[in-house]
Structures are given as C-alpha cells and as structure tokens.
C-alpha cells in the first residue's frame, strides 16, 4: 500500500530516473565510454596514428563498447592460490564504490516544471539533479574517495602474486600521500563557502568562482586529483615497464573491465569535484542550461587529463612522494593562509560580505 502511494507521488519514478539515467548509471557509463574513445583517438593523433577506425558510424566511436563486450566474453581465470572471495569481489566493489559517489553530487538545478505523460512524476523548479541530497555531501564524497586504497590493497593481496603485491603497496603509498594535499586544497573552498554541502558550495560562487582567488588550490587539487586517479604522469600503479600491470596484473576479462571502468569513473569524479569546487559548477551564462554548463566544464577537464598522457613520461615513486610532501602540501597551506588573509581584509572580494 505504501509502495502504491510512493508510486502515486512520483517518488519512485524520480528515483528511477535519477539513479538509472541522470545523474546515475547511464550518464556515467556514457561519459566513461566517451572518455575512453576520446583518449584513444586523441592519443593516436598525437602518436601520428589513426586510432579506432572501423567500429561504429564515425571514427571508431563504438570501439570502447566492442572492447567491453570482448572483455565480458573472456574466460575468468582465477589464480590457484588466490583468495577467491576477495579476488572476485574487489573489482566489483571498486566499481560500486566509485559509482556510489555520484549519488551525492548535484549536477544542476531544475529551471522549469518537469513532468511525464501517463506516469506520475513531478520535479519543481529549485530542486537539484541529485540522487540523495545531504548537507555534508562533500564530506561523504571525499570519504568514499579515500576508501579506494584499501580495496586496491585487498585486490593486490588477493592475487598472491609478486607483481600485484608490489603494485598494490606502491598504489597505497601514492593514494595515501596525495589524499593530504587534496584535502588541504579543499579547505580553502569550504572556508569561503562555509559549508560541506556541495549545493551551497556551488551557489556561493555566483559572484565569482573559487578558482579565481584560489589558483594555487586549484592547481594543487588538479595535480593531486591526477595522482589520485593514477593518470600519466602519475600512473605508477600500472607502471607497465616495471610491474607488468601493477596490482591488476592477474585480473582477467570482466574483472579487469570493472577495474578499468572504475578508474575512468574516478577520473570523471575528480573532474566533477573540481568543477563543483573551483569552477562554479553549473553556474554560467543563461544561453546554456545549468546541466550543460556542468557537463561541459567537467568534460573539458577530462579532455585535458587524457591529453596529458601523450606528452609526459612517468615519474618515479620517490619523486612522486617527494613532490607531494614538499611542494603540494605547503602550496595548499599557503593558499589557505591567503584566503584567511583575504577574508579578513576584503571579505567583499570573496563574496562573503
């Protein structure tokens, strides 16, 4: 009976649309496929190659889908000495964890009344495109972001292979070391916005983006985010030349596909967070709807990150850790001090007055 009431009120439809379509699974999968395709195509052009060409209507557009289907079709070879339960659940939990973060991120504000024919569904202006609204959403997302190293350690350990173990430990080093600058870079934003609520943070940027007065914070966040999602030049977890494929060496078929997809979801998550925290989220001139502004900004960041892959060699783990502790954290702290000073001297400039 209660279910019927939920259906009547339009809540079930709303949940379905938000979880499955936007900003849920379909949206994330599409972005991931687009990012994979873009990365392959653009890097191929940098390499003076053609890249994906035959699959799909234009420029090998369906190649990532074909690859994923191929991965699904592969035999799952579980190493004999592996910890079976961890081995099988780690990839799935990695993907689930990465995707879960999107439940708390608001992707835009609803401008006009929305409803569907025949199905009870109703969204009124002023509501947000978010699955679960929370006033500590940033904290939740950061928390979920921080759990990933443990899954990776578990995944690497479960294989009982040397390459995997070394790769997992290395990944743990990297992710834990770069979480600190990432969090410190966020502090300035949270101070100005006065809230852990992503909606409040985005709306506090209506006069000026946080990135304008916090360029150091933006830069530190960008670099730390690149390291967190293991992109070149910080893709040490998969250092192919040393560790074959790092902690994911022993994972076949669809299990590897889960890890790979989780990686791209994380990349998109990083870009989305950066957009929300520093680049004004969905705010922008009115000729585009808010959602489009949000996706555009996040998409541009994803493109920049994938482009960097073609021009940077990989750094070494000790150099990476050195850079994290000696440059990024002090820079982020300086940014916090600058913001403190500005808030004291000229609060109007930050939109605090």
């Amino acid at each position: 009976m209660q279910l019927w009431q939920l259906w009547q009120s339009g809540y079930l439809t709303e949940l379905f649309i938000k979880v499955i379509i936007f900003p849920g699974l379909v949206h994330i999968s599409l972005v991931v496929l687009l990012a994979v395709w873009f990365e392959r195509k653009v890097n191929a052009r940098i390499h003076l190659r053609v890249g994906p060409y035959h699959v799909g209507p234009v420029m090998g557009f369906f190649q990532p889908i074909a690859d994923f289907v191929k991965l699904i079709g592969k035999e799952l070879i579980v190493p004999e000495k592996a910890h079976k339960l961890l081995y099988k659940t780690a990839p799935i939990s990695a993907l689930a964890l990465s995707t879960l973060s999107f439940a708390f991120i608001p992707f835009g504000v609803i401008g006009s009344e929305m409803s569907l024919p025949f199905i009870p569904f109703h969204l009124s202006p002023g509501e947000y495109w978010v699955v679960y609204y929370s006033n500590i959403s940033l904290l939740i997302v950061i928390l979920l972001f921080s759990v990933r190293p443990f899954i990776i350690i578990a995944a690497g350990w479960a294989c009982r292979s040397k390459y995997c173990t070394v790769g997992a430990l290395r990944t743990a080093f990297q992710l834990l070391a770069y979480e600190v600058p990432l969090l410190v870079a966020i502090v300035g934003v949270v101070m100005v916005a006065g809230s852990f609520d992503l909606v409040a943070i985005i709306e506090s940027q209506s006069s000026i983006w946080h990135g304008v007065f916090q360029p150091l914070g933006l830069a530190v966040f960008f670099v730390a985010m690149m390291a967190e999602v293991s992109r070149r030049p910080f893709d040490l977890p998969h250092a192919e030349q040393e560790l074959v494929y790092g902690w994911a060496t022993e994972y076949p078929g669809v299990l590897y596909g889960c890890f790979m997809m989780a990686e791209y979801v994380d990349l998109y998550l990083g870009a989305v967070l950066m957009t929300a925290l520093f680049l004004g989220g969905w705010l922008g001139p009115a000729f585009l709807p808010p959602i489009a502004w949000f996706l555009l900004k996040a998409g541009i960041i994803v493109c920049i990150v994938t482009l960097l892959r073609g021009v940077f060699p990989r750094v070494r783990i000790d150099q990476l850790l050195d850079a994290g502790w000696t440059y990024l954290i002090p820079l982020a702290l300086i940014q916090v001090l600058i913001i403190l000073g500005l808030a004291h001297v000229a609060p109007g400039l930050l939109g605090l007055a």
Binding site: V166, P233, E242, P313, R314
Partner: protein, 359 residues
Amino acid sequence: MPVMRVKFGPQHPISGHLCLALDVDGDVVVNIEPDIGYTHRGLEKIAENRNYVQAVPPLERANIVDSVHMVLGYVEAVEELMGVEVPERAKFIRVIMAEMSRIASHLYWLCLMAVAVGLETMLMWPINDRELLLDLFEMYTGARITHSFFIPGGVRRDLPQGFKEQTFRALSYLEQRLGDYDRMLYQSYTFKIRTQGVGKLKPQEAIKLGLVGPSIRGSGVKVDVRKDEPYAAYDQLEFTVPTGKVGDSYDRSVVRLREMEQSISLIRQALERLPSGPIKAPAPSSAPKGETYSRVESARGELGYYLVGDGTTRPYRLKISSPSFRNLPAMGYLSKNVPFADIPVILWSLDLWPLDMDR
C-alpha cells in the same frame, strides 16, 4: 619486509627475452642476476657448417635490428683472412648501408627507451620514422631487414636509380624529426629527472667493466672503431665522435641522438663522394690456413669476429664478440640499491639487446 625475488623477464613488457632475477626489498633492488640464453640459436656453429658466402644469412639474424653491421663485421673478417681488396665504390656503399642501419637501430632503441620511462608517443614516432630507412633498404636490396647484401669481396648489386634523391629526401626529413625528438623527450623535465644521475658510470669504471659503443662514450671515453681502426671508407669521411660528460643514462641517451646526426652527415658525404667503378672483387671460395680478428663499430658498440680458416671452403672456427654481451656486466654493477623503476631505464640506456647477447 623480507627480500623477495622477482623475475624480470623473459616474458615481460620491457625486457625482451632477457631474464633478470631481481632481489627486491620493498621498492629497492638490492641485487640482480642476469640470466641470459633464452634466444641462443648457435649461430656460430651454424656458420661453421656452411661455406663463407652461405654463412651470411644466418649471421645477420644474430642482431636483427642492426643486421647490416652483423654482416659487415663478418665480411671484413673474411676479406682479411682471404686477403681480398674491396673496390672503393663497394666501400662507400657499405658505409651508406651501415650508417642507415645505425640510424634504424638507434630509432628502435629510442622507442624502447621512451617506453622504459613510460611515454608512448615516443614509441610511435621513431618506429614510424624508421620505416623511411626500411623503405630505402627495400628499394636497394629488396628486403627490409634481412638483406644479406654484403659478400666477401664487395656488395651484391649497385645502387638503383633514384636512390640518391630519395635518400636525401628521407635524411632531411629525419634531421627535422631528430629536433622533434629532442624537444619531445630530451628537453622534457620528467625525462630528465628520470634519467639524470641514474646509472652513473665514471670513465675509469666504464673502462674497467669493458663497456663498448655509445655506453662507454656516454661516460666520456672516446672509443670508436671507425676512428681508431678505420674500416670500409671511414678514413675518407669527416665525422666526430660524440661523448657525454656525466656518464648517466641521460648522457648515454644524448650520445645516441648525436650519433644519429653524425650518421646522417656521413651518409650524405658518402653519397656525394661515391666513386664509380666495380662493386665487387673476385673472392676465392676457400680461405687459407690462419686466423684473424676483425672489428666494426655496430650501433651497440664494438662488434668483433674471430675467424679461423683451415684451407677449406668452410670456417674452422667463428666466434662473435657481441657488444650487448660486453655491456651486460654494467647492468649488474649499476643495479645495486636502485629503485625498481630505474631498472628499465638502466637496461635500455645500455641498450642490451638479448638477441645480440645470446647469438
């Protein structure tokens, strides 16, 4: 964490068929044991069972990316044993082919070095530009890699029509590309911090370890068979021997880039001064009793052939002293207490080619 033994190869994305057993303490390699022989084909014995001309095709398989030098060293040794004087034109053609092979080999090395530091762009660019040289080889010999085109006494055929023009076109393009490589890889900050100070060898150490080729020249030791003991037409051409200063992986890499520039200039000179005349001298089918040691400067360094003749049509004994094998001790010497990630960099800065090593 206890010391763990990790096998680096023979099936590994970067090591080729070379197996390195690494003792790893966390992320630091404390000891290394090279385990070679996975590609041993017994080419020396194969060559001893064939007559002098028939031995050419198997021998060039010893180092497939630098096949011209493998054959050049062999035919120089055979000519020395037989006392055959090679015509001038053949000498110049040999220089052209050898230097083209050196560039092709260095381009191949460059892409492997770039992969060792993790830059795929520089894997694709040199391997693509190498095609130009392979096309030139194909135009001249009909084969891209395994030409078997030097025979005792000279070369098989004369240069085809239009070869000179096409070579000049390819060389000017390559020259421009070398600048691109310089900007893309060598000037890159990340490449510098990955290679500078890694695998540092002082000149005395390099001499003591018996390094050859670009690996020892990177340490600042000016050793080059082309200068010290000129063969073919190298005594008639002008070139410099680039050397490094510090002796680290970066210097060894720079030396190879500069060598490619020198090779381009050498090919140009040789093509311009190419004398007319015969391209092969008659060579006897059997060699007299005696022994000889002949050496050439291959892309990886000094390549020696020890040859013993017994008056028959077959060599009594043939021994190859290959540059990669002579550079291998440096790998073990340099890989003590270095980060795991430096192993591929050191490996490819020495350009250890497993096929060459095992023969």
